[in-house]
């Protein structure tokens, strides 16, 4: 059977791994799922990697490989929400009270200049006019899972992560949700890469189909129409 | 007993089973290559642990397997001149020499030792820039300057020329005579042994073949651990006078003996080794000979050696003299026990190496 190579952001692993057998069963294609950070995948695609499909965790990296995307195949697949988490305690309002809640601890976030979750979070705090006060109290880590871990093990009292992450970690609870309007929309675009044949299109279509949507929703993603 | 060593050590292919008690002074381990001399010294130094046994130095137990006593090397207070140098390559000669001084009870003066060893011009070099003999001399100096309670010297002069040896030997003699530092010394050189040894331990195959005062062991024609040239008598004398022509006259049991100037005050005792092969035996008047020393005596034993030679023991007023002659001479001269004879020895044959205090 023909193999379809999918380059996908790591955060999609659980969902795509679950979706794969159904797709393979339904279409007869073999899927080869390659997970890494969006930046690494995008660079590899730029360097000519044999990817048929790219699913990025943010729009910028999809933009970066625009010249290899088969025109007309790009679509925004999923969305996500940003939440404030902690280990315990009551919900908090997203205002100056956050600082009290932090106490001497730190606010765990993904890198606010580089990693999407961090960028979105920072944008939200800026919109709330809290960034100036919070910035010196932030502990930035290289990915959102690490931010989650900081909170989970109690190294940081609060953290900003995706709703999907918060849902999967029993040691944390969501203390507040960010209004999606406060930050650029969180999008997981997908597209076929040149060289990708019918299989690529078939897989993209499958991802938009009801089976896949169900799986994504179960993981906490927002399935975009 | 100043040093008592009774140890056993098994190695595949070689078993060391040594036991001896040595009085003070200089004890020579004498034996062929591979007989176990270095192994004994290493055990005394604490660098090789015997399987069993006991080592006692001047009443201090260094090792006792029964009592589970095993002083570490640094607490044994020994100075060890290794067979292979073991200088510290990263230190200058001066630093090497000074290494043990920090731990010495008394800080010894560098200069006399340096001078004696002739290494003054090397003090700022590192061992990598020294010749073989120079390294050896530095190693000697390093051990001496640590002011040890006992000196272990494993062929300390093997790489040295005769002249240099002659300069260093008296130092060991002085150490032996003027201090109570016992010395355990390995040497292959019969003359060196004869001159230095208070006690000789002949080692053979990891065992003690014979032990005794130097005069006795070396004077025993049956013991020649390293060849017939090592046979010789050791005679105790006293310095009678120094003559203006550069000769020193000894009193050997009433018989005058002449030898090249010895730098000791008149009256002091002196030990002289007379190698058996250097004595000429005469019956009757030997006429005008260049040899100055004549020791009249009586033959007390005749012993056939290996080969064409035999050893004649001549009892003289100076002590027992050993003379090596050919059987042919013995026959021609009709030598037999009880016969009076004169042993003739050249003054110059009594070389520096054979004469010691």
């Amino acid at each position: 059977a023909q193999t379809v190579t999918v380059f996908a952001a790591s955060s999609l692993k659980t969902a795509l791994d679950r979706a794969a057998p159904a797709f393979e069963g339904a279409t007869g294609y073999d899927l080869r799922l390659v997970y890494a950070g969006s930046s690494a995948l995008a660079r590899q695609i730029g360097a000519g990697a044999p990817a048929d499909v790219f699913v990025s965790a943010n729009s910028e990296w999809m933009d970066a490989v625009a010249d290899r995307v088969i025109p007309g195949t790009r679509r925004d697949l999923l969305g996500n929400a940003l939440v404030l988490i902690g280990r315990t305690g009551p919900e908090v309002a997203l205002d100056a009270g956050l600082l009290d809640r932090l106490g001497s601890g730190r606010l765990a976030m993904a890198l606010t200049e580089a990693v999407p979750a961090g960028i979105y979070g920072r944008a939200a705090f800026e919109a709330l006019d809290l960034w100036g006060a919070l910035a010196p109290r932030v502990a930035e880590v290289d990915n959102v899972r690490a931010a989650l871990a900081l909170v989970a093990i109690g190294a940081a009292p609060l953290g900003v992560v995706y709703a999907t992450d918060a849902a999967a970690e029993p040691r944390v609870r969501v203390l507040a949700r960010f209004d999606p309007a406060l930050h650029p929309s969180i999008r997981y675009p997908a597209a076929a890469i040149d060289g990708g044949g019918d299989g690529a299109i078939a897989f993209l279509d499958y991802l938009e189909g009801p089976e896949a949507s169900e799986i994504f929703a179960a993981e906490g993603f927002e399935v975009l129409e | 007993m100043s040093l008592s060593v009774h140890i056993r050590r098994d190695r595949p292919g070689f078993t060391l089973d040594i036991g001896f008690d040595a009085p003070g002074g200089l004890t020579v381990l004498f034996g062929r290559s591979g007989s176990g001399k270095t192994s004994v010294i290493d055990a005394v130094a604490g660098l090789a642990r015997p399987d069993a046994g006991r080592i006692v130095l001047q009443g201090r137990v260094l090792f006792d397997s029964a009592a589970r006593e095993d002083l570490p090397p640094e607490r044994r207070g020994l100075g060890y001149i290794f067979q292979e140098g073991r200088l510290f390559p990263h230190m200058t000669v001066r630093q090497n020499l000074g290494y043990g001084r920090r731990f010495a009870a008394r800080r010894m003066d560098l200069s006399p030792v340096v001078e004696m060893l002739g290494i003054g011009h090397l003090l700022d070099r590192r061992p990598g820039a020294l010749s073989g003999g120079e390294k050896q001399r530095v190693a000697i100096g390093r051990a001496l300057l640590s002011d040890p309670r006992m000196l272990l010297a494993d062929e300390p002069m093997a790489a040295l020329d005769a002249a240099r040896k002659a300069e260093i030997l008296p130092y060991f003699e002085r150490l032996r005579d003027e201090t109570d530092v016992p010395i355990l010394y390995v040497s292959h050189d019969a003359a060196e042994v004869a001159r230095l040894a208070t006690t000789v331990v002949a080692v053979e195959d990891g065992r003690v073949a014979r032990i005794g005062p130097a005069a006795e062991v070396l004077g025993d024609p049956g013991v020649a651990p390293t060849g017939v040239r090592a046979i010789g008598a050791v005679i105790e004398t006293r310095i009678a006078a120094h003559h203006p022509d550069g000769l020193t006259e000894l009193d050997a049991g009433g018989v005058p003996l002449f030898l090249p100037h010895v730098d000791r005050p008149a009256g002091s005792p002196l030990r002289v080794r007379i190698a058996a092969h250097e004595v000429v035996l005469a019956r009757g008047d030997p006429g005008v000979l260049s040899a100055l020393n004549r020791l009249p005596g009586t033959i007390s034993a005749l012993r056939e050696g290996e080969g064409p030679g035999m050893i004649v023991t001549l009892d003289t007023p100076a002590g027992r003299l050993l003379v090596r002659v050919t059987r042919r001479s013995a026959q021609a001269m009709g030598l037999e026990v009880g016969q009076p004879c004169t042993g003739i020895v050249k003054t110059v044959a009594l070389a520096r190496e054979d004469v010691g205090g």
């Binding site: 790591s10 955060s11 692993k13 390659v34 890494a36 590899q44 360097a47 044999p50 990915n143 | -």
Partner: protein
């Protein structure tokens, strides 16, 4: 151990073993050569070579991977030989080898420097050409160094992740080694347990290699000490 590892993890394990083995074995000759050159020869540009060898250690692994990608990717200047490596397990081995190279070279160099050149001189006076001297005298004497170098390299290769995933990505069965698998598990919610299982496996393998090398080293040391 296979029964408690899923098929994917097993595949990653075998691939990691293959990649690490070849990364170590294939870089050994070059490592030896470079170490020898650095230890014993003097030539113009020596310090440059010296620095280049150290580079992969200083650079963040991602940068090393990126540079490899730039150089050997289909569009890179070395693209022609790049096809031998790009997005293949050989590329993973290359990345791991490059990352481990400084460790290997430094260890070997250190032990070459500890060999007394006088022994090599002695061998030459006996008529042995330089290459033979190296093989029969230097090489056996630096075996502990080579083993140390190899173990460090192997361990590094078993753990290497940043350069590998950046250079050859994370293709199941081809370039998805244990560390990349671990990374992927760590990136998804609830993947920690699976990740730690893989970590344990990789640690176990590296420890095995370590023990073997220790045993060999001790043998060599014992021989030389003459026991």
């Amino acid at each position: 151990m296979t029964f408690w590892l899923g098929p994917e993890a097993q595949a990653a394990l075998w691939l990691s073993l293959k990649v690490s083995f070849w990364a170590t074995v294939a870089s050994l000759p070059l490592g030896l050569f470079v170490a020898h050159a650095l230890a014993r020869w003097s030539f113009p540009g020596k310090q440059v070579l010296n620095g280049m060898v150290l580079l992969p250690l200083i650079l963040p692994p991602v940068v090393t991977g990126y540079l490899l990608l730039l150089a050997l990717g289909p569009q890179g200047p070395l693209g022609t030989i790049g096809t031998l490596f790009a997005f293949r397990w050989t590329g993973a081995a290359l990345a791991a080898g490059v990352m481990a190279f400084p460790l290997m070279v430094r260890a070997i160099r250190l032990s070459i420097e500890a060999v007394d050149p006088k022994l090599e001189d002695a061998a030459r006076t006996l008529g042995a050409p330089r290459a033979w001297v190296f093989v029969t005298v230097t090489l056996p004497l630096i075996l502990p160094g080579i083993l140390t170098g190899a173990v460090l390299a192997f361990a590094k290769a078993m753990g290497e992740f940043g350069a590998t995933i950046t250079f050859v990505s994370n293709i199941p069965g081809e370039t998805r080694t244990l560390p990349t698998a671990i990374y992927t598990f760590l990136q998804v919610p609830g993947g920690e347990v699976e990740a730690l299982k893989l970590v344990a496996v990789s640690v176990g393998v590296a420890m095995g290699a370590l023990l073997v090398s220790e045993w060999l080293s001790a043998r060599v040391a014992r021989r030389i000490a003459g026991r």
